[in-house]
């Protein structure tokens, strides 16, 4: 046991080290385009890993994650917008908001806390529902957020573009938060709370019979996932610096759900694999969309083709790999190191919760 744990720790430290080294290389040597893709990767990891906590580990299928992302993005952006720009872009802002300009971290946390509070209040009712009703009701939440963003001109500029957000988001902010999100979700899943969530997912009635509060387990997952979705929203806002409510709607929802499903629900490393796979694929497709010149053959640009191909791949993934690329298991880092004992392997497999009744 002890050696297994040590080898696990070693593997985690080693992979962190590799990550830092890779980020350093990207930061110092890579082109601006690559840097943007790598930042986008990190933001998606935060979104998908935190959504996985809810959808994968408690089995409550939420479509409202992007709503919390929007809350985080708008809250943080309103707080960090330079005061001089506020008087121009948001002249009707309440005085106490119009005269502050918060630092990035504080603004991000403020958005995340607001999202968590809203998740708690909304969750008190939404988390009572099950199956397809949750999906529809959380989709309703997404619509409510959208309607409010479009109509609350005083705070959000309505449907117009919200611009002038300072470009605070760096590679290090993004990946710092991504690592923290993954760590928190990983610890949570392995704690007693996580076991309760999985118990609720696997058999609600049996879990209740054992004294697990279904509501509490779901609500916790809902709030934590909302918190990190809002963090991702703030990072996203300070990355793109101008956006409109449309950015936080159905297309983005489908995009993160594609990553989640292709990676495999209920597996944290699966989420990361899913994000990387989908991001790289859609970047390649997006570049190909502009037309390919093969020398002897020129394929004309077909805009929108990448979305079409993505949706086909998604359907194929659901048909042929319904449990995702990793099949709901965790990628085992320790296995890459020598001196690994079998028991730890079995242990880590048991936590993945791959056998699910459907």
């Amino acid at each position: 046991m002890a050696t297994a744990r040590r080898s696990n720790l070693l593997a985690v430290l080693l992979s962190l080290l590799i990550l830092v080294a890779a980020l350093l290389v990207v930061d110092l040597a890579a082109s601006a385009y690559i840097q943007r893709v790598v930042m986008g990767l990190g933001i998606s990891i935060i979104l998908v890993v935190s959504l996985n906590l809810l959808n994968g580990f408690t089995g409550v299928f939420s479509l409202g994650q992007v709503g919390f992302m929007a809350i985080g993005a708008y809250t943080a952006a309103i707080l960090t917008l330079p005061i001089s720009l506020k008087s121009v872009n948001l002249p009707e802002l309440p005085a106490w908001l119009g005269e502050v300009q918060a630092p990035f971290l504080l603004a991000t946390l403020a958005g995340a806390i607001l999202a968590t509070v809203i998740a708690f209040l909304v969750g008190l009712s939404l988390m009572r529902l099950t199956g397809p009703y949750v999906a529809v009701a959380t989709l309703g939440f997404l619509v409510i957020v959208q309607v409010i963003l479009i109509n609350w001109d005083r705070m959000t500029r309505g449907a117009r573009t919200f611009s002038g957000v300072p470009p605070y988001t760096t590679l290090w902010w993004v990946w710092g938060w991504a690592v923290l999100t993954t760590y928190v979700v990983w610890r949570l899943v392995r704690s007693a709370y996580g076991r309760r969530m999985m118990a609720v997912r696997d058999n609600e009635v049996a879990a209740q019979a054992l004294g697990v509060s279904v509501m509490r387990a779901r609500l916790l997952a809902f709030c934590v996932s909302a918190f990190f979705a809002a963090i991702a929203g703030s990072l996203w806002a300070h990355f793109f610096t101008s956006f409109s409510p449309k950015a936080f709607y159905f297309a983005e929802t489908f995009s993160i759900i594609t990553m989640l499903v292709i990676g495999g629900m209920g597996s944290i490393s699966g989420s990361i694999v899913g994000v990387v796979f989908v991001t790289l694929l859609s970047e390649i497709l997006r570049n190909a969309e502009r037309g390919i010149n093969l020398g002897f053959l020129t394929i004309p640009p077909v805009y929108g083709a990448s979305q079409i191909i993505m949706s086909v791949i998604f359907v194929l993934a659901i048909i042929f790999r319904p449990k995702g690329l990793l099949g709901g298991r965790e990628l085992d880092l320790g296995r890459l190191l020598p001196g690994r004992n079998r028991r730890a392997e079995a242990e880590s497999r048991a936590v993945g919760g791959d056998e699910r009744p459907s």
Binding site: F61, S125, L126, R128, L129, T130, G131, P132, Y133, A135, V136, A137, L139, G140, F141, V143, I144, V147, I148, I150, N151, V205, F250, F254, I257, T258, V261, V302, Y303, G304, A305, Q307, I308, M310, S311, V312, F314, V315, I318, I319, P322, S358
Partner: protein, 298 residues
Amino acid sequence: MNTIQTLIQQTINAVSIGSLYALMAIGLAMVFGILRLINFAHGDLIMVGSYAALLSLVLGAPFWAAGLIGIAASTIVGLAMERVAYRPIRGAPEVAMLLTSFAVTIFLENIAILIFSPTPRAFPTPPILSGALEFGGLRISAVDVLAILVAAVVLVLLTFFIRRSEAGVGMRAASQDLLAARLMGININRVIVMAFAIGSALAGVVGILWSIRVGKIDPLMGFYPVLKAFVASVIGGLGSLPGAVLGGYVLGFLEILLQGLLPSSLTPYRDAFVFIILIVLLLFRPNGILGSTEKEKI
């Protein structure tokens, strides 16, 4: 206009928009009842039907023919989506099926954007429907009358079909228990194809009525109608046909009521209120108004 007239006028508005929601919701409910699939791509069948109708109008077809072509196009695409996307995952978890329907939506919408470009196009109103009936100070547009009449006829026919015909009985049996129905010798594939065909044809009908009402069409036009139909079928109880119809009309009245009762500063938030009411309703009736309250069997 006095109060009573306003009341009647608004009731007619509510019934007319409710009719469209009900026709949409029936399609969703039929498929959900049998397959447990929430077919989000149902909305895009509206779009397909409208574009097919517009295309045939542009090519010189008379309006009635364009309407039929639109309905036929919706039906064909609906059947194709069942065959290609939904049949291979039959019996998968509900969520997987819902996600597949999202993918189908993205697919159809992007194809439409590719072919027709994202800019909205004007949809003409046929001369017969451009007028309005006026009596006793009331003004009812011909499109509203048509929507109400079509819905009434469809509902009567559908009730007979479901109650009396052999296929209808098979459909009810399949929605009660798919496996048992199969064991009783019902051809499940035929029943499912039938459900998709009827639902898709109704979506085509709604598409044409909707397009005349709104006056323009675009590749993403199916999003709000299907969202509304969702709400309608959830209000009534997912999978229940009478529930879907009831939900459609309830939603129609709810929207008109909110429009009338909300202070003007809040009317843009109407859709938000609709969803809030839906969520509150689900708290008290987790399976909708007509859904069974039976607990899951252990």
